[in-house]
């Protein structure tokens, strides 16, 4: 289970790869065009302090704010062959990979983490859009399968947070094959009776939308996020018509029945904690005295079922270390 080892403490990680001081201390909101001081914007998790526009958020930052006290373990993802097709367009794919790795400090576009959210062990698989547009190739597909299996192992819900333009063209058909593979990953979580919640962020399009991202038990979306299958430009060129107002935005999808809720970034953590609790702790109000496993006794004084404790059955096992 070597790939399950998960040590790297996020805090250390954050220190090592602290991002450079931004050239520009002020950033302009692309929606309302107001200037925002970079520290203020960071504190607001890249949500415009004037108009509430949600700008993209790097995956590590997202994980930090989702987990209790910002503490989580990275789930080490299996390595895959880099550049299976030896793809080359105007640039070598191999070079693009190297550049993205250098720029983001990540191996690929997916980061999988395990930690507590509201006291409940939870697996989060978050995309980093800065890594080749968050595109899904073999590494991401395998990463999602690993995330699903980790969730099953830990008896934990799986949260997926896509931010992706779709399949990674540079891996050709092998990237297309990640669509059925990620569907199978979702099915493993479903079959274990665990929640699979998707938080759709800007953008979620193409082969990512048309696979695991649309199969959540519950689908949340960030305000204004572009979510769709075909690109708006492709649709416009095909039908030669003006696209409706708000087309392929989170609110539009909710109104057309494709997502459950549009949730402000600052509320997503609470929302996820509540949903997981509702799904996994169905009789919280009642006192249930478990029979207990033979040969194993609860510690004296520990209540039979503490709030949000039920799911921690597996925590008795030492974490894979």
């Amino acid at each position: 289970m070597s790939w399950l080892t998960n040590y790297v403490r996020p805090k250390i990680r954050a220190l090592v790869q602290r991002e450079d001081v931004p050239d520009n201390l002020w950033q302009q909101c692309p929606a309302c065009e107001q200037m925002i001081f970079h520290r203020e914007l960071e504190a607001a998790l890249n949500v415009c302090t004037h108009c509430g526009h949600h700008m993209r958020l790097p995956a590590l930052k997202r994980l930090e704010v989702l987990f209790d006290d910002g503490a989580y373990d990275r789930v080490e993802l299996p390595r895959v062959m880099a550049d299976p097709l030896r793809f080359r367009d105007r640039k070598r794919y191999g070079d693009r990979l190297k550049e993205s790795r250098a720029a983001t400090g990540n191996d690929d576009a997916l980061i999988v983490a395990f930690g507590k959210m509201g006291g409940r062990g939870t697996v989060v698989a978050a995309f980093d859009f800065r890594f080749m547009g968050g595109s899904m190739g073999m590494a991401v597909g395998r990463g999602l399968i690993a995330a699903a299996r980790h969730a099953v192992l830990k008896n934990a819900p799986l949260i997926a947070i896509p931010a992706s333009g779709g399949a990674r063209m540079q891996e050709g058909i092998l990237s297309l094959m990640q669509m059925p593979r990620t569907v199978l990953a979702v099915d493993e979580v479903r079959e274990a009776g665990l929640p699979f919640i998707v938080v759709l962020t800007d953008p979620t399009t193409g082969g990512v939308t048309a696979s695991f991202a649309m199969l959540g038990d519950i689908a949340l979306a960030e305000p204004g996020a572009v979510i769709g299958f075909a690109g708006a430009r492709v649709i416009q060129e095909t039908i030669r018509e003006k696209l409706p107002q708000g087309f392929q935005r989170a609110e539009y999808l909710r109104d057309h029945g494709m997502v459950d809720r549009v949730v402000h970034r600052h509320q997503i953590r609470d929302e996820l904690i509540r949903l997981n609790d509702l799904l996994m702790n169905p009789r919280a109000g009642q006192k249930i005295v478990p029979l207990g496993e033979p040969g194993k006794r609860r510690k004296a004084g520990k209540p039979a079922v503490a709030d949000g404790d039920e799911q921690d059955r597996n925590e008795e096992r030492p974490a894979a270390e």
């Binding site: 299996p78 390595r79 895959v80 062959m81 880099a82 299976p84 097709l85 793809f87 080359r88 367009d89 105007r90 073999m138 597909g141 395998r142 399968i145 399949a167 063209m169 540079q170 891996e171 050709g172 058909i173 092998l174 990237s175 297309l176 094959m177 669509m179 059925p180 593979r181 569907v183 199978l184 979702v186 099915d187 193409g206 082969g207 939308t209 048309a210 696979s211 695991f212 991202a213 649309m214 199969l215 769709g228 299958f229 075909a230 690109g231 492709v234 649709i235 095909t238 039908i239 018509e241 696209l243 409706p244 087309f247 392929q248 539009y252 057309h256 029945g257 494709m258």
Partner: protein
Amino acid sequence: MQNFLEFEKSIAELEGKMEELRHLSDIGDIKIADEVSRLQTRIDRSLNQIYSKLSPWQKVQVARHPDRPHCNDYIAALIDDFTPLAGDRGFAEDAAVMGGLGRFRGRSCVVVGQEKGNDTESRVAHNFGMARPEGYRKAQRLMRLAERFQLPVVTFVDTAGAYPGIGAEERGQAEAIARAMQVCLDIRVPVISVIIGEGGSGGAIAIAAANTVLMMEHAVYSVISPEGCASILWRSGDHAEEAAEALKLTAQDLLKLGVVDGVIDEPLGAAHRDPLMAMKAAGDAVEKALEALDGLDPDTVRARRRERFLNIGNDKLS
């Protein structure tokens, strides 16, 4: 009048000559018959030469050839008692996806496939083989029907991709594709897919998550069309030929990558020159694939399909 592709110019000339000769032969000159057979040998040789080393971009042209047999041709040639079934029971019928019950070499089965159409009228009726969400939901319904009655599913894949339109997006094109794939992977009956022409991205894999994925010799299967890829990565559609090369979308490449399980030989000069022979070869391959799954219990059939996809790329470990 036959449609010739750009790289078939030499063939077109020879065929033209042959046509002229045929008119002469009406006079009854014996030498002309000799000439015709000599020409035919030349044509065959040249077809063989051209078609044995088609470039990926040329394969794309062949896969899209208007005279190439389409889904409905395969159904007519291979499925007896075909009974088309319509509608997704939610919104509409989508004629881009053909589906129904029938009998394939004695076995009852469910057939699903994309139909591009053969002339302007039928192309419009079938939306050029580009399915809307309803098509994928119909496919889901029919695959569940197959499972209920323990019938194998045979799919014929031939689409440029799922339809990019406002309504399609509003009604959940992505969800419909994802769910179709999920059903395809879930059902406890054998699923055999044949990529007969163009396997266009998500619109194709939606009905191709099968136990056995077969591909016609000159079909293509890709995550994106070469034109689309070129316009994104090269910033110009003019580089489609290079993109086709880079994408590794030919049947021969995909066999090497372990994405397809078998390549079905096409007749000399590709399926459009002898559709019946091509379709018979496809039928033989489907029959063999079904026989290989005979006698397996439903759970094993499902488990094997899932393993197949979970294993793709596993040997590509660094």
